[in-house]
Symmetry: C2
Subunit: 410 residues, 2 copies
């Protein structure tokens, strides 16, 4: 018998937040000093940084904090994807406790995506959530990990299995940090740039493909104005996408998941020796070929995507890829995306659709794509793959397409 | 030189949530089966419970899940305040991972406040937040810990230092669980009931003080209709308070913090051997006497509060209390409540004000209150304190009031 409820008991809650991403010339930029003054000032604060950033910029940025009248405590954490675990979040919490951070205190991540992931999660937990600021020092941090609202750590074999949505109070982008990032780091960031360009900003994509191979990398390293434009444009595109569905509550069809279905299990399968951006590049290449194989994407656009990746010297293939691997990745994705794979596939430059179920692509199609990717990679290694970065590529090996039986759409 | 921002980059996000607390007759109540069907159904699910609850109710409630067509995995966790640590949250996350919980999966806490604290925190972290349900089995769980939106664990000497705001999807209250809670558990719940009655529901307070000593405890144990009314009334008052400021973002002056300024460090100082509800009772007694000493509360109302506590056989004193302890607690509170102590003090039954700064109460006042509390406790232990539970108490030892120099208010 249903017990009659004496009165309606319920609790309604609402949480609004907004933050700004601001771009500054360099570490000494008075604008940045003002930003520190505004957001840190006399609050109790803890900077979390990495050994490399600390060595290269520690003294300099401590001076900037001094000028701003801020006296944060400072810890150096060896951040790497293998170490992105709850244990490291606890270390930051312990340091915050030792530093006497109060509820209006603030954590500041001064490092790459792993550093901001750990700091975001620690700040979400400390006293049930304190503020955090981000000063990303890598390209992937500046255009992707550092401007979103998520934090997370790996758990067992699951990448980012534990995490939070905890928006930063503010983000400062200083492109001059990228002078010391190195080729690997920059290319990883370019993979994320190609991703967001492909789904959300045709003009950005055209800017990327118009550059000569290696050119963007050199702009980024040298602090060229053109690099800064690409960075700002990428951030703008990402924020625009995030704002549509910041907590992923209005569905699991997300443009920003392009390149992020195989990437996570692929990284995990190498115990994170394969870096995130490279795994994303491989996933983007697979996705482009799958979209073409399904008849969702024309050959020209597929070539443009592969072209943009190879022009940035990004990988297209990894030995761990196999039919079984892809199927497992699809299942893991469905577990995480509301029961359907929801793999973002390009349908042209600037548009996309979602692969929902495994049955939509036959084993033959997947195997054919894997063969093609391996072939593309080996041609490139041999120097045979002279993919122009513009749409009119002619030398692209399209043979795989004829081997494919396009699965019927439901 | 301030770098001119190419375009305004910002991200706005908003999160709305509401949940219902529903009250059911007993574990076999078809309403509860319907609730399970609605909220669990065929979702991947994990029940987290305690050894005692599992022994007493495990088989029975598993049947209820069966009837509802739900097939949750089940883990038994030895929950206690000493064990309320991040490690236990990790254990739940691991069990959720083994149980194959997907993003639409759900955790169910079937236990007391510690169990729901751990489960709330685990569900806030799993895949950056999955749903959780609560079926609280203790009085403190049913009227306090289980109906809020917080979860948390202790960290070093700090109670609830790490935590989250993560509202449950729904809460089911089954007062018949309380038949097996035992006197200690019920009295702890009564401390929270007295707390919320005192700040927020005069009628509830009158109902509590009208009962004979020990009477409410026996109503609760026997499942008396009057106990259910008190429970529903308490939940209603708490939800009403929470809804004003669910994320504690619009300030740190909270009615619900009454009895929660000394309580947390006091519990921690005993390594959680002193249970939460008892620490709250001691804090309530201190607060009432402090309010009277400050001239904020009349002697009659102070007596009524002390009377309600003693009538429920709640403690008023602990040997760890001292002037230094109180001062440290004030400082810890200020760290947690935006720089000011914000200790909730009653100004009558149904109204309250906030102690902001240590300077508002002299060391002499605090020492005098501590002496009075010790005296009250020893009188009660000797059976001398025959405090009537109604407002017209005459035997209340009011001597301490004359020893007090009321500090000047700022």
């Amino acid at each position: 018998m249903l017990h009659v409820i004496e009165r309606a008991l319920s609790l309604r809650s609402s949480y609004d937040h907004s933050f700004a991403v601001e771009v500054y010339e360099d570490i000494s930029d008075p604008g940045l000093i003002g930003w520190i003054k505004r957001h840190v000032g006399e609050r109790t604060a803890l900077v979390v940084t990495t050994p490399t950033v600390n060595r290269l910029y520690g003294t300099h940025i401590q001076k900037s904090f001094d000028y701003a009248g801020a006296k944060p405590e400072w810890i150096v954490l060896k951040c790497s994807e293998e170490k992105k675990k709850l244990e490291y979040v606890e270390r930051v919490c312990l340091a915050a406790s030792h530093a006497g951070l109060d509820r209006r205190g603030v954590l500041i991540s001064l490092g790459g995506g792993v550093c901001s992931d750990i700091v975001t999660m620690a700040s979400s937990m400390l006293r049930r959530g304190i503020s955090h600021l981000r000063i990303p020092t890598t390209l992937i941090g500046q255009i992707d990990a550092g401007v979103g609202i998520k934090g997370g750590v790996n758990f067992g074999a699951h990448k980012n299995y534990l995490g939070c949505y905890h928006p930063p109070e503010a983000v400062a982008i200083v492109p001059s940090f990228l002078a010391t990032v190195g080729s690997n780091g920059i290319r990883q960031g370019l993979a994320e740039m190609i991703k967001v360009a492909c789904t959300s900003d045709v003009i950005l994509f055209e800017q990327l493909e118009r550059a000569r191979p290696g050119e963007i990398e050199s702009w980024v390293s040298s602090g060229d104005r053109r690099a800064r434009e690409l960075i700002v444009r990428s951030i703008s595109a990402i924020l625009c996408e995030l704002e549509r569905n910041p907590f992923e509550r209005s569905g699991y069809e997300r443009a920003l998941d392009f390149g992020h279905t195989l990437a996570h299990p692929l990284e995990a399968s190498t115990n994170y020796k394969l870096h995130h951006g490279f795994a994303v590049a491989i996933d983007l290449a697979f996705s482009a070929l799958l979209a073409q194989g399904l008849g969702w994407l024309d050959a020209g656009s597929c070539r443009r995507i592969i072209g943009a990746l190879t022009s940035s010297a990004l990988p297209l293939w990894h030995e761990h890829l196999s039919l079984d691997f892809i199927r497992d990745a699809f299942r893991a994705s469905a577990k995480h995306r509301g029961g359907e794979i929801n793999m973002t596939l390009p349908t042209s430059i600037g548009t996309y659709a979602f692969l929902k179920r495994e049955q939509q692509c036959s084993p033959g199609l997947i195997e054919s794509i894997l063969r093609s990717l391996r072939q593309l990679e080996s041609q490139r290694s041999d120097g045979d793959l002279d993919l122009p970065s513009r749409a009119c590529a002619t030398k692209f090996p399209g043979a795989f397409v004829t081997q494919i039986k396009v699965a019927e759409l439901p």
